[in-house]
């Protein structure tokens, strides 16, 4: 007797989609090991030259800078998102809760391009920040914010914020308010109660949020492309340039594969390093 009669029926679309994904990944993987023939869309014979080229300082630097930007973004997002998530979970006012939740989550529905455009308006030389700084006389010529790592990180924080807020809020909602009350009644001030009780107990959410933000930022394309304008190279923008300006698909494929492997490696490393922290919050 079949215990799950619809299993095959329901799984088959997913299996087809998975098969297509695997095929695409396999295609990219085989492209990565093929030679680039300038002027031709067709790759040449098998070679390891693409991966050898990655070791050139120019490309190695892009990888390092990408990892640095991802780390900065993940940590900055954590710092911005934590108080927001805390307020959303702990606020007793429904109105404030809803307002914060909508503010935190709206960017998610706007799409990366629209969000990034809004940051061009804010960060540009005649943008919001510089007009104010010039008007109140703090500076006498615009501060360069566009096309800088700082600008890219600020915009990326905005992109990753909603996911981080959701993950932290989920973790914090599992931290019983009674723990904080207990700490307080035992003589811990608000700061001590937060650092010794709330923060460690929300650690699973922090670990999940930071690793997700890292992976998201690594694959972000529109934001570094538009805010960085080519002057803040990241792996994703480099892949685009190589693939669609130079039509060097094999090298672009090698970069993609390496980027994917690096992300997986960094996440695995982070997971291992943060495991003791995560166990703190295990209930």
């Amino acid at each position: 007797m079949k215990t799950r009669p619809f299993l095959a029926l329901f799984v088959s679309p997913a299996a087809l989609a998975a098969l297509a994904l695997v095929a695409a990944l396999a295609a990219i993987l085989q492209f990565a090991f093929r030679a680039f023939v300038p002027g031709s869309m067709e790759p040449g014979g098998l070679t390891l030259a693409n991966f050898a080229a990655l070791l050139r300082p120019l490309y190695a630097d892009v990888f390092l800078q990408t990892v640095a930007i991802c780390l900065m973004t993940a940590l900055a997002t954590l710092i911005v998102a934590y108080p927001l998530a805390y307020a959303i979970v702990r606020s007793r006012s429904i109105a404030l809760k809803s307002f914060l939740l909508i503010t935190a989550l709206t960017p998610m529905f706007l799409g990366e391009v629209v969000r990034t455009y809004s940051w061009i308006i804010v960060l540009g030389n005649s943008g919001f920040i510089n007009s104010i700084l010039l008007a109140i006389g703090v500076v006498n010529r615009p501060v360069q914010l566009m096309f800088t790592t700082f600008g890219v990180v600020v915009a990326l924080v905005h992109v990753t914020l909603p996911v981080m807020v959701i993950m932290l809020a989920a973790a914090l909602s599992h931290v019983d308010l009674d723990y904080e009350k207990a700490a307080t009644s035992l003589g811990a001030g608000p700061v001590r109660a937060f650092l010794t009780v709330t923060l460690p107990l929300s650690m699973p959410g922090i670990v999940a949020g930071v690793t997700t933000a890292f992976a998201w930022t690594f694959s972000a394309f529109a934001t570094p492309q538009m805010i960085g304008g080519g002057r803040v190279p990241m792996v994703s923008t480099l892949i685009y340039q190589l693939g669609f300006s130079s039509f060097n698909f094999p090298f672009a494929a090698a970069l993609s594969v390496t980027g994917l492997a690096l992300t997986v490696a960094v996440l695995a490393l982070a997971k291992a390093a943060l495991a003791p922290l995560e166990r703190l919050g295990a209930h």
Partner: protein, 377 residues
């Protein structure tokens, strides 16, 4: 608020002067929006007393506990602990130990760190923390459990840890928020005895919140019965049980039967009422202002009723026997009684043989009860 006001429910001044006041609650009010959770509560608790706040859910007892701990701010009135004004003191400076309903043991710390948390927060040196934690764990009989995580402990053990954690800071006041509700029935009894014993040994003023009247009667030095945001009566368990001053208290604490009766006459602080031709003695204070012949409701405990032949007392029909070992609870259909039923507690085990189910009988009071004016319809 007028200073000369005599606070309802507070102790007589003479008794209060005998021992120092541990907790004084002066006209404390708490509102949540339009809902008044606590309406001008007045209460004085002597140092070292085990005081129980007893009432059904929503009566304001937990609100009062949270106000004492400082987790809520009062909308009016003052709270004093050991003579010190607490109203403006933040919870972390109140020196009040709290045992939570779910214990709220920090899951990421072992038992020793849980118990030592309050001492670490006070900057007590490590060596002294270790020593005091050991002493306290020995007191709650968990001497070898310091290295365990809370989730590796049974419910009763978790409760002991919660108690040790609250007591190790040598609090001026210990608050127990329904601490037995998560324990199974057998464990509950032994934990009650144990907590009472530790409380008496340390002499710490304790406020215990519960909705369970048998818990309240068995553990308390004094009980404050609450309902609908008000303190209805404060007294010893025996006073609350034997001489309720309020219909609500009479009905909430212990099993009770309500029978219609008539006031016969009043004599000093006693009065007599007639119920189905049988006389019963009641305190006069609860029916002040009523003239002889006035209708009253007689509240009488199941063990203060007796079953007799039909024709005497209030007529009824035996509906069921409930064997309880040392006594038998007889359920009697009685149209005259509130709810249409009476519960009569007969000592020994002969009653079912004498009064089989279906037998028409007469029920009358054997001992006193308490009478109240009939409820306004």
């Amino acid at each position: 608020m007028p200073a000369e006001r005599i606070p309802p429910g507070s102790d007589a001044p003479a008794a209060a002067a005998a021992r120092r006041i541990g907790v004084q609650i002066d006209g404390v009010t708490k509102r949540f929006g339009a809902f008044t959770a606590l309406h001008e509560a007045w209460l004085k608790i002597e140092q070292g007393t085990f005081m129980t706040l007893l009432g059904p859910s929503g009566c304001g007892k937990t609100t009062l506990l949270n106000l004492l701990a400082g987790f809520l701010e009062a909308d009016g009135g003052e709270i004093f602990v050991d003579g010190q004004l607490m109203t403006e003191t933040p919870p972390y400076a109140r020196e009040i130990g709290v045992v939570f309903q779910n214990y709220a043991l920090f899951p990421h710390m072992n038992v020793a760190r849980n118990v030592g948390y309050g001492l670490a927060a006070r900057g007590v040196p490590k060596r002294e923390i270790a020593q005091r934690v050991d002493e306290m764990l020995a007191l709650v009989k968990l001497a070898d459990f310091g290295h365990r995580k809370p989730k590796e402990l049974s419910g009763g053990q978790q409760q002991r840890v919660a108690l040790a954690r609250a007591l190790v800071i040598r609090p001026k006041l210990l608050l127990l928020d329904e601490p037995f509700s998560a324990l199974d029935k057998n464990l509950r009894g032994s934990m009650q005895v144990e907590i009472k014993e530790i409380q008496r040994r340390l002499g710490v003023t304790t406020i215990f919140v519960t909705h369970d009247q048998s818990e309240a009667l068995s553990m308390s030095d004094r009980i404050a019965v609450m309902s609908a945001g008000r303190i209805r009566q404060v007294g010893t368990p025996d006073e609350i049980y034997r001489r309720p001053t309020d219909r609500f208290v009479a009905a909430f604490v212990g099993d009770v039967n309500v029978l219609p009766a008539r006031l016969e006459r009043r004599q000093g602080d006693q009065a007599s009422v007639l119920v189905g031709g049988v006389r019963a003695q009641v305190p006069a204070e609860t029916i002040e202002g009523l003239a002889p012949g006035a209708a009253v409701d007689l509240f009488v405990r199941p063990d203060a009723l007796a079953i007799g032949e039909a024709g005497g007392g209030v007529p009824g029909t035996i509906a069921a026997h409930v064997y309880q070992g040392s006594h038998v609870d007889m359920v009697v259909d009685c149209p005259a009684a509130a709810g249409g039923r009476l519960l009569v507690r007969v000592p020994g085990t002969e009653a079912p043989g004498l009064w089989p189910v279906g037998r028409v009988v007469g029920i009358g009071p054997t001992a006193g009860g308490v009478a109240f004016p009939p409820e306004a319809a």
